[in-house]
Each structure stands twice: as structure tokens, then as C-alpha cells.
């Protein structure tokens, strides 16, 4: 298939090269003991852009994501938001620096990590009320609107254990949205779900992408990646092997390793 035959992306790109760069990461390195999991990762995310990280297990994609909000502290590298002051990991990162970085993003986990001792509503308002000091009535109104959007308004007083996996993950997304972050981080948001529940979660994420939320997504769902991504990064062995628009990368990968990975996932029986 030649590039001209690739069907046009049904979604107009949300980010253009003119959009401001939200996040820049340069030369991110991280080792766990002798195991070098990230060997100099560069990443740029523009406002409104959806960047998807794919790659085999152990390729480092989750570590990249976790480095972006301080759940992992890289050994070296630079992170900057909105062209603001650099966070240089080779130097000592201050607590303020880490907290400031964390405030920019919100994370949706593979295992939702909802607070089991709080109701759905309490989960969602905890960050706004306790951390951001939003008045409680305001936070509740916001939370109810967000829950309504993902179809979970009637679950506001339920505890997480009483929800299905897909509902739990949608609450996880709402909890992240309630923080009104600049950047949404998704760490394999559907990997722990039963297959029939994957769709409802991906649908919500796609709607958010369409609304212009900026996000970095780690996923194994290539069909989904193709639909939502502006840029796909294929990682293997702690490096970005290939990056580009999903249409061209999935149909016409430049690197042998990318092709091998895509073949294994798209045609597992060949």
C-alpha cells in the first residue's frame, strides 16, 4: 500500500506544529541496579496532542510514563513544562520541583488504584478538595458532571468493590480529570480488564482525545493507538526505535524491529 492509498485519518489532527509545546523530555536515563531500562529517551508533547507508546514488555515504556510525573526519578535527563525551568535529574531534584512536576499531570493506572475505603464521589473529590483546596460544594458539582459524562452518575455513592472493572477504570479516569491537569498519563489502562470491558474504557479515552486533552498513553491496543494517536513511539530495550504518525508506522514501519513487533501482535499465528 503506498502512502497515498492509506485512508485518511477520520479524525482531524488536534495538534499542529504551531501549537505550544507542553512537555519536553531530553536524554531521560534510568537504571534499576545493573538493569538499564531507559537509555536516553527524548519526547516532546504539544498541547492537544496524543502520544502513544507501544513496545514489548520490559521495553521501558511504563518507566517513561512514570518518569513524567515523578513516580520514578530518572538518573539523568531534563524535563520541562511549557518551556519553563528545566528539571535536571542529573542534579538533585528538590521536593518542590517534583511536586510542581506532579501538579501538571494526572495518572490513570493499569490497576485503577482507586481508594477502596472511599466512595466513587469521595475518590474523585479527594485531590481537588484535599490538595487543590477547591471548595467542597464546587468539587462535588464538578465530580458529578464528570461522572455523568462517563455514564456513572448513579454510582457516586458506591464503593469501588461494587463496580465492574470497566466502571472502576472509568472512575479512575474521572479522578484524573477532576484534577484538571495539563497532561493525562495512561499506563496500560485496559490491560487488566476482561476483553468485553475494554471497549467502554477506550471509548472514554478517545472522546477525551477528541476534546483536545493532551495525553501520553502506554497501550497494547494497536487499533486504538491508530485511531487516537498523533504520534506513536515504538520502544524496545530502553530506546525509542521508531516514531511517527500511526498510519505510516503501522502500514509501513521503517525499522525491522518495529515490523517484527507489529507482525507478532497483528498476525500472531503466522
Amino acid at each position: 500500500m503506498s502512502p497515498s492509498e492509506i485512508p485518511a485519518d477520520p479524525l482531524a489532527p488536534r495538534a499542529t506544529p504551531d501549537d505550544a509545546v507542553l512537555l519536553t523530555a531530553r536524554g531521560i536515563r534510568k537504571s534499576f541496579g545493573d538493569n538499564e531500562v531507559l537509555r536516553s529517551i527524548d519526547l516532546e508533547v504539544r498541547r492537544g496532542e496524543v502520544v502513544v507508546l507501544i513496545g514489548p514488555s520490559g521495553s521501558g515504556k511504563t518507566t517513561v510514563l512514570r518518569s513524567l510525573n515523578g513516580l520514578e526519578t530518572p538518573d539523568a535527563g531534563i524535563l520541562s513544562f511549557d518551556g519553563g525551568p528545566d528539571l535536571d535529574f542529573a542534579a538533585k531534584v528538590t521536593k518542590q520541583g517534583r511536586l510542581a512536576m506532579r501538579d501538571r499531570s494526572a495518572m490513570v493506572f493499569q490497576q485503577h488504584n482507586l481508594f477502596p475505603h472511599m466512595t466513587v464521589l469521595e475518590n474523585v473529590i479527594e485531590g481537588p478538595v484535599r490538595v487543590q483546596r477547591v471548595p467542597k460544594a464546587q468539587a462535588i458539582a464538578d465530580a458529578e458532571a464528570l461522572l455523568e459524562r462517563v455514564g456513572l452518575a448513579e454510582k457516586r455513592d458506591a464503593y469501588p468493590f461494587a463496580l465492574s472493572g470497566g466502571q472502576q477504570q472509568r472512575v479512575g479516569i474521572v479522578r484524573a480529570l477532576a484534577l484538571k491537569p495539563d497532561l493525562l498519563l495512561f499506563d496500560e489502562p485496559t490491560s487488566a480488564l476482561d476483553p468485553e470491558l475494554v471497549g467502554e474504557v477506550l471509548k472514554v479515552i478517545k472522546e477525551l482525545a477528541d476534546e483536545g486533552w493532551t495525553m501520553v498513553v502506554v497501550t497494547h491496543e494497536l487499533g486504538f493507538a491508530r485511531q487516537v494517536a498523533d504520534e506513536v513511539l515504538f520502544m524496545d530495550g530502553g530506546v525509542v526505535v521508531e516514531r511517527g504518525a500511526p498510519g505510516s508506522m503501522f502500514t509501513n514501519p521503517r525499522e525491522a524491529r518495529t515490523r517484527q513487533f507489529l507482525d507478532r501482535i497483528l498476525r500472531p499465528l503466522d
Binding site: 493506572f109 481508594f115 477502596p116 485531590g127 484535599r130 469501588p160
Partner: protein, 222 residues
């Protein structure tokens, strides 16, 4: 039991119960409350990355668990005056029992904190919480649920252990019983009666534990 024995049983019942209500129970509750605060502090110290702090906590737990409670009680009440610290029976007893609960409770609380999945800490961090706030709002409420059964055990042991305070002149349930027994010479009857009253107290406390567990279990599938 002959009628005079029965009469003695009835006559001494309320004095013994009153000894429990005015001595045993306040002693146990005060020591347990203070002991829990110590236990939480020691548990956090043991979990700390600071080696001096965690070493000190480990030492504290080792000493408390490795020495008899009666000896601890005697060191505080009869021993401390030698270094110029003279304490009344009640404060001595509360200090000794609090330290004891602190040592045993610390290990329970430490294990309960460790039983909360790491993802809960991470979720707290990613909504912008400091580690202190995450501990208080996210981790401890979940650890509390896990630690209620073993801590209740500690508490019920404590209620019975307070009988040791009779040996440093605290007027509590057992001391009242001892006085009645010495006066009436009915040792078997009175000490069995004391045992019965301890048991009744513990039955009430166990049912309170059951209710507390049920309340804390409201957010898990049963």
C-alpha cells in the same frame, strides 16, 4: 455452694465489678490509647529509611517483647525511685502498660501498613498528596481495617494483664478480689468470681470488636 457461700458471692459481686469499672477498664483504655500512639510512632520509625530511627525502633520492640511485663512494671514502680523518679501506682501502671502496647502494637501496625498495596501510595502521590497526607488519608484508614483483629487481641490481653497492677498497689478488679478473699478466706469462690467478671468484661469488648470490624468492612466485598 451453701447459702453463706452464695451470699458471699452476691455480696462481693458488685465490689469486684466496681473494681473493674473504676480500675481495670480506665487503666486498660488509657494505656491502650497512649500505647497506640507509641505503636504508630514506632511503626513509622521502623519503616523509615533513616537507619538510626529504624534501628532504635527495632531495639525498642525487641526489649519490650523480650522482657516480662511484670518486670517492666516493677522497674518503673520500685526501680525508678533509685534514680530519683518516684511515681504513684497509677501513673507507673499506665506508663508500663502503654510501653508494652507500644511494642506489640508497633509490629501489628507496621505489618498492616505494609499490607496496603504500593499502588495506593502512588495514587495518593499522583493526585498531588505529600507522603504524610497519603499516609493519613489513604494508607492508615486501610491499615486500620487490617489491624483491628490483632489489635483487639492486644487490647483483650491488656485488660487481663492489668491484674498485674495489683502488685504495685493499684486498686483494680483483682486487688479488690484479693482483699475480699483474704478477709473471707474463701479463695476458690472469690478468685473464680474474679475470673468470671474478667470474662464478662472481655465478652462485652469482643462484641464491640465485632461491631467495629463490621463497620470497617463496609467497603470490601464479603
Amino acid at each position: 455452694m451453701d447459702s453463706s457461700g452464695w451470699q458471699l458471692f452476691l455480696d462481693s459481686f458488685w465490689p469486684i465489678v466496681w473494681g473493674g469499672i473504676s480500675g481495670t477498664i480506665p487503666l486498660a483504655f488509657a494505656s491502650f490509647a497512649i500505647g497506640l500512639v507509641i505503636a504508630l510512632g514506632v511503626a513509622l520509625a521502623r519503616l523509615s529509611k533513616n537507619r538510626v530511627l529504624s534501628g532504635a525502633a527495632r531495639f525498642f520492640v525487641s526489649v519490650v517483647r523480650g522482657t516480662p511485663l511484670l518486670v517492666q512494671l516493677f522497674v518503673i514502680f520500685y526501680g525508678m525511685p533509685a534514680i530519683g523518679i518516684v511515681l504513684d501506682p497509677w501513673p507507673s501502671a499506665i506508663i508500663a502498660f502503654s510501653i508494652n502496647v507500644g511494642g506489640y502494637g508497633a509490629e501489628i501496625i507496621r505489618a498492616a501498613i505494609l499490607s496496603v498495596p504500593k499502588g495506593q501510595w502512588e495514587a495518593g502521590y499522583t493526585i498531588g498528596m505529600s507522603s504524610g497526607t497519603t499516609l493519613r488519608r489513604i494508607i492508615l484508614p486501610q491499615a486500620a481495617r487490617v489491624s483491628v483483629p490483632p489489635l483487639s487481641n492486644t487490647f483483650i490481653s491488656l485488660v487481663k494483664d492489668t491484674s498485674l497492677a495489683s502488685l504495685i498497689l493499684v486498686t483494680e478488679l483483682f486487688r479488690v478480689a484479693q482483699e475480699i478473699a483474704a478477709f473471707s478466706r474463701e479463695f476458690m469462690l472469690i478468685y473464680l468470681e474474679a475470673a468470671l467478671v474478667y470474662w464478662l468484661f472481655c465478652l462485652v469488648l469482643s462484641s464491640a470488636q465485632g461491631r467495629l470490624e463490621k463497620r470497617l468492612d463496609r467497603y470490601v466485598a464479603v
